[in-house]
């Protein structure tokens, strides 16, 4: 596998990651959202493995496997169980309408392209052009957290943001040290469990996972 060809594969996978990020941004069904998240994890994992192969960095294989087991198998499983237990498969309400959200997303991609242009000029890595996509994925995850009202959707947005950060780390510096990555993976896992417990509590207290409901927590003046 030549460097050129590997760069092409990585670019294509990056495009797919971006596509799934946009898919999550516009998807209304909860199960569809989780499926898209799973796909994003899979593309991320493959791309990490390819980067590891090209750069000769062995520890990237481990983080690729970690991504695969955590973001493709375990987290989607937990989310599916949550969705089934809480019976929230129905359509998700959005704060801003979907076409407008898409346009904002496109603007974010352009913004991150401009933001990372200097880095791209200086860097010598195979993956330098992917950095813009990674940053865009982070921002789209953030946008998803802002535009959705549902607590579970916001968590998926958060996880998508983490995917973007992981991707950025891989593409900018061939990955963080393994210790850091293990720590982050553990954090994500624990966070998912805590989110799950919180969801159950919110659900029993408010009978809904719409975060707007939490405005009721305010004391009346």
């Amino acid at each position: 596998m030549t460097i050129q060809f590997a760069a092409q594969i990585i670019g294509f996978l990056a495009a797919l990651v971006l596509l799934t990020a946009f898919g999550m941004l516009v998807q209304r069904r909860m199960t569809g959202l989780i499926h898209l998240f799973t796909w994003q994890g899979l593309f991320l994992s493959i791309s990490t493995a390819v980067v590891g192969f090209v750069a000769g960095q062995r520890h990237l294989y481990i983080s690729s496997l970690l991504t695969l087991s955590l973001k493709v198998i375990l987290l989607p499983y937990i989310l599916h169980v949550l969705v089934r237990r809480l019976r929230i498969q129905r359509e998700i309400e959005t704060v801003v309408n979907v076409p407008l959200t898409m346009l904002i997303g496109v603007a974010l991609v352009i913004f991150s392209y401009h933001l990372t242009a200097p880095v791209r000029e200086l860097s010598t890595l195979v993956t330098r052009s992917v950095l813009a996509i990674a940053l865009a994925t982070v921002m789209i995850g953030l946008l998803m957290m802002i535009t959705r009202r549902h607590a579970v959707t916001q968590i998926i947005g958060f996880l998508a943001m983490e995917n973007g950060l992981f991707f950025a780390a891989t593409s900018a510096t061939y990955g963080m040290p393994l210790v850091v990555e293990l720590g982050v993976a553990l954090d994500i896992l624990i966070a998912a469990f805590i989110f799950g417990i919180f969801f159950f509590h919110i659900h029993t207290t408010f009978d809904s996972l719409d975060v707007e409901q939490m405005a009721k927590l305010k004391e009346g003046d």
């Binding site: 092409q8 594969i9 670019g11 294509f12 990056a14 495009a15 797919l16 971006l18 596509l19 946009f22 516009v26 979907v98 076409p99 898409m102 997303g105 496109v106 991609v109 352009i110 392209y113 052009s129 992917v130 813009a132 996509i133």
Partner: protein
């Protein structure tokens, strides 16, 4: 003076006129099979057209020249578009006079006059159909242009035969921009040719029809021309997709002997395209009109992403 390009151009017109109804019949046939019905056969569209041509013309009393002129204009514009899109060979003299932007404009003129003629008689359905058609067009056209510009960027030309040449001799297969453009293009084809998630070509139900509502008042040879133009439009969009994304097998410049093979390849690719079109159509349900903004919005999004990924990744 070299005569080959003109021979090819004439051949191409003949193929377009002859193969478009067969392709429409093929799609109908597959659809019948997929729904467990027996099909009317591959050549039913021909019989329909001949029947319509032999029937008398019924014109509304208050029909203006627009109403009478539109079928010829729609047919002519679609035929002209067939002279630009490389179906058999990239060696087309007409292709030098018009690029893809003109191509989009040709279809736009046909649509504009169809919408006008829908309103011309003054029936409620015609006006409704026209307004819906223009709503869809206003969303589909930017997406279409965006998708085309993405391919133009990759091939550094807006001339169709030039674009096909570059894709044909393509160095890299894994180009995310082209893949995005292809996805966007599939959505646009469904919208532009009035296929299922957007419009149902077989329906005459008052509330759901879009294209059929506009041409409801046409009869006789006028209707025959419009129906034929509709089939040619579907054929041309599919051929455009094939030429821009899967041009393998098309005859190169001045290569007259490759034409029969190009024809065979075309038939093969059309067969596959028909199957995938029917798969999409049977797999999806017709969309609510107000959901179409999202459908075409995603087409626009995909095309824009294609363009961006050209700058970012390539």
């Amino acid at each position: 003076m070299n005569i080959y390009p003109f021979v090819i151009e004439i051949l191409q017109f003949l193929v377009l006129l002859g193969a478009a109804p067969v392709f429409a019949g093929w799609v109908k046939m597959l659809k019948c099979w997929s729904q467990g019905r027996s099909s009317p056969g591959l050549f039913q569209p021909y019989r329909d057209i001949i029947k319509l041509f032999s029937k008398d013309l019924v014109l509304a009393e208050n029909a203006s020249w627009i109403f009478r002129f539109t079928p010829y204009l729609v047919f002519g514009a679609t035929l002209l578009a067939g002279g630009i899109i490389p179906i058999l060979s990239t060696d087309l003299p007409l292709a030098a006079t018009a690029d893809v932007i003109v191509l989009v404009a040709l279809f736009a003129i046909a649509r504009f006059f169809t919408a006008l003629s829908g309103m011309d008689i003054g029936t409620a359905f015609g006006g409704m159909g026209s307004s819906r058609e223009m709503t869809i067009a206003s969303l589909a056209e930017p997406a279409m242009l965006m998708a085309i510009f993405t391919i133009s960027l990759a091939s550094k030309s807006t001339s169709l035969s030039q674009m096909v040449q570059v894709v044909y001799s393509g160095q890299s297969v894994l180009r995310p921009s082209i893949a995005f453009a292809l996805l966007a293009f599939v959505l646009i084809v469904l919208a532009e040719t009035g296929r299922i998630p957007v419009d149902n070509p077989a329906t005459h139900l008052e509330l759901t029809m879009i294209h059929e509502a506009m041409i409801l008042e046409y009869s006789g040879r006028h209707l025959a021309l419009i129906e034929w133009a509709g089939m040619m439009k579907l054929f041309l969009f599919i051929m455009f997709g094939i030429a821009a994304f899967f041009p393998w097998g098309i005859a190169a410049w001045g290569d007259l002997y490759a034409i029969p093979f190009a024809f065979l390849f075309m038939l093969l690719k059309l067969g596959i395209a028909g199957v995938s079109l029917v798969l999409i159509e049977t797999g999806l349900a017709k969309m609510r009109l107000f959901r179409l903004t999202e459908f075409l919005g995603s087409a626009f999004l995909l095309a824009t992403l294609g363009m961006l990924s050209y700058f970012i990744l390539e």
